[in-house]
C-alpha cells in the first residue's frame, strides 16, 4: 500500500514541479514585491514600504473606477451573452437544413484570439476607413464608434461576438441532455415552445447554467486582450478595465510594486467566487 502511495505521488511530480516553478513561485515573488517600492531603476534593490502600495491603491480613485468599469462590463456582457446563447441554442434544438455548417460558423469567432479580434475590430470600426463603422453609421449617426459616445457599446458588441459562442456551445450541449419525455409531457399539457424553454429546459440544465454564468462573469471581469487591442483603455481612461489598469501600471509606468499590489487585491476579490466555481466543477469528477 505504501508503494502505491509513492507511485501516485511520483506521477504527480512533473506537473507539480511546473506549477511550483511557474505559478506558485511567481505568485509569492509578486506578493513580496507588492510590499516594496519597486520600479525599473531600483528593481535590483527595492525599498520595503510595508502596506503603502495597498493604501495608495485604495485611496487612488483610478483603481476604484477601473474595478467599477469591469464590474459593470462583466454584468452587462454576461447578461447579454447568456440570453443570446440560450436563445440561439434553443433555436438549434430543432432540425433545419445546413445545421452542421451553421454550428461551425457560429463557433468560428470563439477560436479567434481575442487580441486578433480586437485588432481586427480596431480596423473595422475605424472612424475614417472602417467598413463596419460605415455600415453602422446609419444606426448610430456617426462613424466614430471608438469615441466616447459609442466606445462602451462597441466593446460590448465585440466581446459578445468573440465570447457568446462559448455560452452557446455550453448551453447547446446541456440542452441535448434534457430528457425528451419531459418535453413531450409538457407538450401534452399544452405548453408552447417558449413555455417549455422557461419551465422545463432551463430548470433541468440549471447546474450547467450556473457554472457557465459564473465562469463568464469572472472571465468578463478580467477582460484584457480584446480591449487592449481595440482601445488600450482609451479614450483616456474611459474603457480602462482593471486588467488594463494593472498592465499600464506595470509595463508603461514600470511601477511594479503597485501593479503587484493591484493584482493581489484583484485576486483576493475573485478568490471566493473562483473557489466556489472550482468546487462545483471538480465535484463531478469523483
Amino acid at each position: 500500500m505504501k508503494k502505491k502511495k509513492i507511485i501516485s505521488l511520483l506521477l504527480l511530480l512533473p506537473l507539480t514541479i511546473w506549477l511550483v516553478a511557474f505559478a506558485l513561485y511567481p505568485i509569492l515573488y509578486g506578493l513580496r514585491l507588492s510590499l516594496f517600492n519597486a520600479r525599473i531603476n531600483n528593481i535590483e534593490n527595492p525599498t520595503f514600504i510595508g502596506l503603502q502600495n495597498y493604501i495608495k491603491l485604495f485611496s487612488n480613485s483610478e483603481f476604484g473606477q477601473a474595478l467599477l468599469w469591469s464590474l459593470k462590463f462583466a454584468i452587462i456582457c454576461t447578461f447579454i451573452q447568456m440570453v443570446l446563447g440560450i436563445l440561439i441554442s434553443w433555436l438549434f434544438q430543432r432540425d433545419f437544413p445546413g445545421k452542421g455548417l451553421a454550428t461551425t460558423l457560429i463557433l468560428m469567432p470563439m477560436v479567434v484570439a481575442p487580441f486578433l479580434m480586437g485588432t481586427m475590430f480596431r480596423l473595422l470600426f475605424n472612424e475614417s476607413v472602417g467598413p463596419i463603422a460605415y455600415l453602422l453609421s446609419g444606426l448610430t449617426g456617426t462613424t466614430a464608434l471608438l469615441g466616447m459616445a459609442w466606445v462602451n457599446p462597441t466593446i460590448i458588441g465585440a466581446d459578445t461576438i468573440n465570447r457568446m459562442p462559448f455560452v452557446f456551445i455550453n448551453m447547446y450541449s446541456a440542452m441535448q441532455g434534457v430528457p425528451q419525455e419531459l418535453l413531450e409531457a409538457a407538450t401534452m399539457d399544452g405548453a408552447n415552445a417558449f413555455q417549455k424553454l422557461i419551465h422545463v429546459t432551463i430548470p433541468t440544465i440549471s447546474a450547467i447554467f450556473g457554472i457557465t454564468f459564473l465562469e463568464k462573469l469572472l472571465q468578463s471581469f478580467l477582460i484584457f486582450e480584446l480591449i487592449f487591442a481595440m482601445t488600450a483603455g482609451g479614450p483616456g481612461t474611459f474603457t480602462q478595465s482593471v486588467s488594463i489598469f494593472i498592465y499600464r501600471r506595470a509595463f508603461q509606468r514600470s511601477d511594479y510594486g503597485m501593479a503587484c499590489a493591484a493584482s493581489f487585491a484583484l485576486a483576493l476579490i475573485l478568490l471566493v467566487p473562483s473557489l466556489y466555481l472550482v468546487r462545483r466543477t471538480t465535484k463531478g469528477d469523483k
Binding site: 501516485s8 506521477l11 504527480l12 506537473l15 507539480t16 511546473w18 506549477l19 511557474f22 505559478a23 511567481p26 505568485i27 515573488y29 509578486g30 514585491l33 433555436l91 430543432r94 437544413p97 445546413g98 451553421a102 461551425t104 457560429i106 463557433l107 468560428m108 469567432p109 477560436v111 484570439a113 481575442p114 487580441f115 486578433l116 485588432t119 481586427m120 480596423l123 473595422l124 475605424n126 476607413v129 467598413p131 460605415y134 461576438i161 455550453n170 450541449s173 450547467i208 457554472i211 465562469e215 469572472l218 486582450e225 487592449f228 487591442a229 486588467s243 498592465y247 506595470a250 503587484c260 493584482s263 484583484l266 485576486a267 475573485l270 473562483s274 472550482v278 466543477t281 469528477d285 469523483k286
Partner: protein
Amino acid sequence: MSRKQKKRLSTIFTVIAVILIVIVLDIGLITNVLTAFKSPFTISSTPPKWIFKPTLDNFRNVLGKGSFDFRLYLWNSFIIAVISSAIAIVLTIPAAYSIVRYHGVGDVILGSTMLLRLAPALAFAIPVFLIFNRFKLLDTKIAIIFMHTLFITPTSLLLFIGYIQDLPKEIEEAASIDGANTIQILTRVLIPVLLPGIGSTAILGFITSWNEYLFSGILSFKNSITATVGTSFFITSYAVEWGNMAAAITLSTIPTALFIFIAQKSLVKGMTAGSVKG
C-alpha cells in the same frame, strides 16, 4: 393551416434567423479577409467598396522581407505552440492517471490547476517578467513555452481525467497481473488507447498557445515574437498599414479557423470541459 405547413413555416423562420445570426457573428472576419485583398486606395474609399479588383500585394508585403519579419513570427508561433502542447500532455497524463486511480494529493493538484485557470493572468505576468529578466530568458522562445505550457495544463488535465475515467479498469488489472509496473501500464497500455484523446488535447493546446497574447507580448521584443503579437506592429506612430494588418490577421487566424472545420467535435469537448460534464 395544416400541421405540415406550420412545420414548414417554422423551419423557414428558423433558417432566416440562423442566417442573420451567422452574418452578425462572422461579418467582422469576412470583412477583414476582404480588406486583406484591397489596395490602399480601395481601403480609403468612402463608402467602402464591397466589390473590387483583389490584389495579393498585402500578403506579399507581410510575407516578404519588409520592416517586420512576419514569417519568423508565424514560425515562432508554430514552434512554441507545438512544443508547449506536447510538454503539457507529458505533464498531465501521469497526473490525470494518479488523480483518477489514487486520489489524495492529486485532488489538491487538480484544485490548484482549476484555480489557475480562473486567476488573473496579470498577477503572474509581472513577477514572471521580472524573474525571466533576472535569468536572462527574455526574448527567448523557451520563456514563452514555459508559460504557455502552464496555461494549457488545466484543460489538458481535465480532458485526460475524463478520458481515463471512461477506460475500463480491467485492461490495467490484466496488465498488472502479467507483471507490468505502473510505468509500463502507462506507456504500453494507456497511451495507445488514449491516442485519439491525445490528438484532440494537442489541438486545443495548440490553439491556446497560438492565440495567447499577454505573455507572448511581454516576454518578447525581437527574436521570439509570435504572430498574434506581430499583427499589432502595423500600427506605428506615423501611419497604420491597414491592408498589411488585415493580411497579417488573416494569416494568423487560418490555423485556428481550420481546426474548427476539421476537428469541431473534439474542440467543443475541450472548450466546454470546465463546465459541462459528459
